[in-house]
């Protein structure tokens, strides 16, 4: 999303997602010690709080690592993004420890579709919540970007920073806001991973970041539906690979796809072609 709007790949996004998961865990444990026992209410509260705090992290990252480099050569923010990513990993490792943190499953139960003999097709409530939340957020954000004045300002910033300022858009504010929104989405993702797997550590952001990047490239970088399609495809490929071949090599499968896509279709499945008449 940040790429689509600012035209810059935010390699620290995976770390923001990891921080979102940690913040959610901390807030959940806090709410538990404070005696909040009604789980759905606690979860919604935790979700909102971690979105706010992770949003603040997103804002700070943009302020520290990217804004001073705006107008510099194209690779500069990319390098500082990688630096930021390493710094954030180590920051969490130092403050939270290197061991995995666990959370007991909070949302249990499942929904059975049909049963044939001993085997049945089931969806856990957690999976339903994840898919539902993703679809909801994607719809909200697509509408935000396509229809609102803020969304137009964001797209204007991506296409021409100078002209965006000339129609009266506060470019710095718009970019900051974009990072905050991106970080909030990452916080939601972080919390979903925490609830689904129940285990997080300081390193989860790295692989997630690279996978997300692969999905974005596969779908067509800068396109929101493309990123979603890419994510879905990567997930399916990994799952089928694990089922039919070996689970150890599932990352190899995912990254081979990245290479193949980059060679044969650099603009991705739904990406817009680079050449245009201006």
């Amino acid at each position: 999303m940040v790429y689509g709007i600012i035209g810059m790949i935010n390699f620290a996004h995976g770390e923001i997602f990891m921080i979102g998961a940690f913040i959610a865990l901390i807030f959940y444990l806090l709410s538990e010690t404070m005696g909040l026992t009604y789980v759905p209410f606690a979860l919604i509260l935790v979700l909102l709080l971690s979105m706010i705090f992770t949003g603040a992290y997103g804002w700070a990252v943009e302020r520290l690592a990217y804004r001073p480099l705006r107008g510099s050569f194209r690779l500069a923010p990319l390098i500082s993004a990688i630096g930021m990513s390493i710094a954030l990993q180590n920051y969490v490792q130092l403050t939270q420890g290197a061991r995995s943190k666990t959370l007991q499953p909070l949302i249990e139960g499942e929904f059975t579709f049909w049963q044939i003999g001993n085997s049945s097709v089931v969806l856990s409530f957690m999976q339903i919540i994840i898919v539902g939340t993703t679809v909801l957020l994607m719809t909200v954000f697509s509408v935000l970007i396509a229809k609102t004045s803020l969304g137009r300002a964001q797209r204007a910033c991506e296409q021409d920073l100078v002209m965006a300022a000339l129609v009266g858009i506060d470019v710095n504010k718009t970019i900051s806001l974009t990072f905050v929104l991106g970080a909030m989405l990452a916080a939601v993702a972080g919390m979903m991973v925490l609830l689904n797997y129940g285990v997080i550590d300081f390193y989860i952001g790295f692989l997630a970041g690279i996978k997300a990047f692969t999905a974005a490239v596969l779908g067509g970088i800068g396109s929101l539906p493309g990123a979603m399609l890419g994510g879905l495809l990567i997930g399916l490929i990994e799952t089928f690979w694990s089922a039919y071949f070996t689970i150890e090599y599932k990352d190899v499968a995912a990254f081979s796809i990245l290479i193949v896509v980059l060679i044969f279709r650099p603009s991705g499945l739904l990406g817009k072609p680079e050449i245009e008449k201006v």
């Binding site: 004045s149 137009r152 797209r155 204007a156 296409q159 021409d160 100078v162 300022a165 129609v167 201006v278």
Partner: protein
């Protein structure tokens, strides 16, 4: 009454000073043109009024308020609009979205939008088309329309006739005249097409190497021997 009043303005890029002490006035409701050769500093002057690049010294008073220290988006919110060099249409956005962005600092007004469509009916026909797919002349109309959407008191136009067919140039100049007459918008027009610009303008300035060499009414400048020789010959 001076709507825009510039005094002793110096500006440039890095160590290169482009504007070397410029003073000009634009009165409310007036068309003022700025003519000069390539590299004289015309575009830099318009961009400095918009705060990018920033003036190194001097004053830019807009309605008696000094805007030199303000950020670009703040200046644009005060009632100045710019249709910049190269048009700078947002290529992946539709014509309508480009126009909506023009009124970013104000409330979007359907009435204004209709004015723009009246001025340039072709924009209405192409309102759902992407900006990048328009022809050069249509893009120029869109750039002027977008600037006009902000309901400016002062409209800055940078080379609106550049690279256009003569018929299109004529239509653009008619539209500029209409914006000025019907809506009372003051216009600061930068042009290489000196003959057309001076015919349209109330007053004009001649910019040479970052300094104002001559100033006068449009008619005076049109009949000035030096100007005829330097800018109007063959035109």
């Amino acid at each position: 009454m001076a709507c825009l009043s510039i005094k002793g303005l110096r500006s440039g890029y890095g160590n290169i000073e482009v504007l070397k002490g410029i003073s000009i006035d634009v009165n409310a409701g007036e068309i003022v043109t700025l003519i000069g050769a390539n590299g004289a500093g015309k575009t830099t002057l318009l961009m400095t009024i918009c705060g990018s690049p920033r003036a190194s010294s001097g004053e830019i008073l807009f309605n008696d308020c000094n805007v030199v220290a303000k950020a670009t988006h703040e200046i644009m919110g005060l009632g100045i609009s710019h249709s910049p060099e190269g048009r700078r249409i947002f290529p992946h956005m539709t014509v309508l979205e480009n126009l909506q962005l023009g009124s970013f600092t104000k409330h979007f007004s359907e009435k204004r939008l209709r004015h723009v469509y009246d001025l340039f009916p072709v924009l209405y026909e192409r309102k759902q088309q992407r900006g990048g797919t328009l022809s050069g002349g249509e893009q120029q109309m869109l750039a002027i329309g977008r600037a006009f959407m902000a309901r400016p008191q002062l409209l800055l136009l940078d080379e609106p006739s550049l690279g256009l067919a003569p018929l299109m140039v004529k239509r653009i100049f008619e539209a500029i005249n209409e914006i000025n007459e019907v809506h009372g918008t003051a216009i600061l027009l930068v042009e290489q097409n000196a003959l057309q610009a001076l015919r349209l303008a109330n007053r004009g300035y001649v910019l040479v190497n970052g300094k104002i060499l001559l100033a006068g009414s449009g008619k005076e400048l049109l009949t000035n021997k030096d100007i005829q020789k330097a800018y109007l010959e063959g035109a």
